[in-house]
Subunit: 320 residues, 2 copies
């Protein structure tokens, strides 16, 4: 992987290497089901439970793969990123695992629990103003000061390969899946998933689920080029990112379509998952269940792998 | 089992028979863990996830065992019980599974979601006044009208044997456990657990966890006789029952002690489980995690089986 171009899409072999690299650190998360949800969907739903992943989200797979594949010389200078969400905690965790410094730049209006979640794994938090310019300037300052390598949340082949390990696992656990449904934020998870799954099951369907209020991927697929002029407005705080050129190519070439979902349907699906699966999934995961329930004809009587991406919620501010 | 005296404690063989009887219907629930909770407890905690059991609680094990062991002649007249909680839904589920009628007497101030949960499995709900006398009179009316057999929530060897199947499973999944911690309400689960676990691992410790506001079992153990003059006052709605003479004997002869827990600690533990395990456990399950955290010296460095009994919560009325 060290010789791989991180600005290109990973190959299936890169994802298998990532799986070996992170084995024994990342958890093999369970797959669970619910007769009531199967009945509601008219399909056989197999939920891959990444809320139970370390740090509470799949993000640690990519972060570990990136951090563990750095050279010793680069690694000792540390890593940095900007994040107001799960990627920051995942990178902090991965850096602690390798024993190297980590700095996470967070907007000064970040949710306290997210800041605490980054600090919990020993990373330094540097606050910035809540603008993209301030985020990038502040990260640049950190890099100049420390020589740290910036590990982005999705626009990096090592990250995409790491996220793809989740689908490798799922297809080992439940080999006979007809279709996978995956949430779409920055596009790293769905791109890695599609490349991994197609390498094992060439005919498998890959569907994205995206909030209607942050539907840049769906619009980009329709337009045949990346659409970036949207202002994300959705309860799915993990899916407000805009796909990159790299993940756009990954999605365009590997994904069978994206279902967009209104927040009301996502919140209903989140409640349903809490009640029936007994899992505290976050809105960014509930969007996939909402998508399956919204388009039953696409999934009826099929065996569906539903990737629940994370479970980091603020219990004092539930969306219902 | 048909020849067994339902007013005596079940033998280990009865629990093994129950396991065979309910296999293929009741779910084999997963066992899960959390590095953060292990660190908090200073112990290795293995959580048996009965919130993921059908109907959302372990109760279906006992109800299935009772209903599936009835003679055809008795079964066709149906079953009845009074319940404002998980046992009613469990019995309704078991009766539907056998294809026989079920009537559940519920106080007319029951929580709507609990009523819906019973009706969902096809049982008839008959309302009564919220007093013990009205409950019993109304059940007697149902029995006179239908000839149904009353299946009590815990004071019955078939129920206790069914609940014990959970521990058989847990010890297959994680053989090397030093101690089990089990919630105590009416005492059916802990009695079945103790008999099952001791038959496989004679030296295993069995600890109960009971809300301080409904500590009849702890008081009864101290007094050496059943204490019943308490008025339950606890957030643990599943643990307000009073142990019977039968379950008192089961606890007295098989349990190493009961840890009582204040509701504040239970609510903190419930939040912690939601955040770290990502499971929507109910207060009656959280009491066991609270007990482990409250008495760390009893569990330090040990391998602990923690039975999470159920996950039926009202998401609109969370206790924090």
């Amino acid at each position: 992987m060290n010789t791989m171009d991180i600005h290109q899409l990973p190959a299936p072999a890169d994802i298998r290497e990532a799986a070996e690299r992170i084995a024994g650190v990342a958890r093999r998360t369970p797959v669970w089901s619910s007769p009531a949800l199967d009945e509601a969907a008219g399909a056989e739903l197999h939920f891959k439970c990444e809320p139970m992943q370390l740090t509470g989200a799949f993000k640690v797979r990519g972060a570990l793969n990136a951090v563990l594949s750095m050279s010793d010389a680069q690694a000792k200078k540390g890593v940095a990123t900007h994040s107001s969400g799960n990627h920051g905690a995942a990178l902090a965790f991965a850096a602690r695992e390798r024993g190297i410094p980590c700095t996470v730049v967070m907007p000064d209006n970040s949710v306290k629990s997210k800041v605490a979640n980054v600090r919990r794994y020993g990373a330094e938090v540097v606050f910035c103003e809540p603008s993209q310019a301030s985020r990038e300037d502040t990260v640049a300052d950190v890099v100049e000061r420390t020589g740290a390598e910036v590990i982005p949340p999705y626009d990096d082949a090592r990250i995409i390969a790491g996220q793809g390990t989740c689908a490798l696992e799922l297809l080992e656990q439940v080999p006979e899946l007809d279709v996978l449904v995956v949430p779409v934020g920055g596009g790293g998870l769905i791109t890695g998933t599609a490349i991994a799954a197609r390498s094992l099951a060439p005919g498998i369907g890959i569907r994205g689920a995206e909030p209607a209020g942050s539907d840049d991927a769906a619009r980009s697929l329709s337009a045949g080029r990346r659409i970036t002029d949207i202002t994300p407005d959705t309860v799915c705080d993990g899916l407000r990112a805009i796909i990159s050129e790299l993940t756009f190519r990954g999605i365009r070439d590997n994904v069978d379509g994206i279902i967009t979902v209104e927040d009301d349907a996502t919140i209903d699906a989140m409640r349903l998952a809490w009640l029936e699966l007994k899992l505290t999934i976050e809105p960014s995961s509930a969007v996939v269940l909402a998508a399956v329930l919204a388009e039953p004809d696409a999934f009826r009587d099929r065996s569906v792998g539903v990737i629940l991406s994370g479970g980091n919620v603020d219990l004092d501010h539930l969306p219902w």
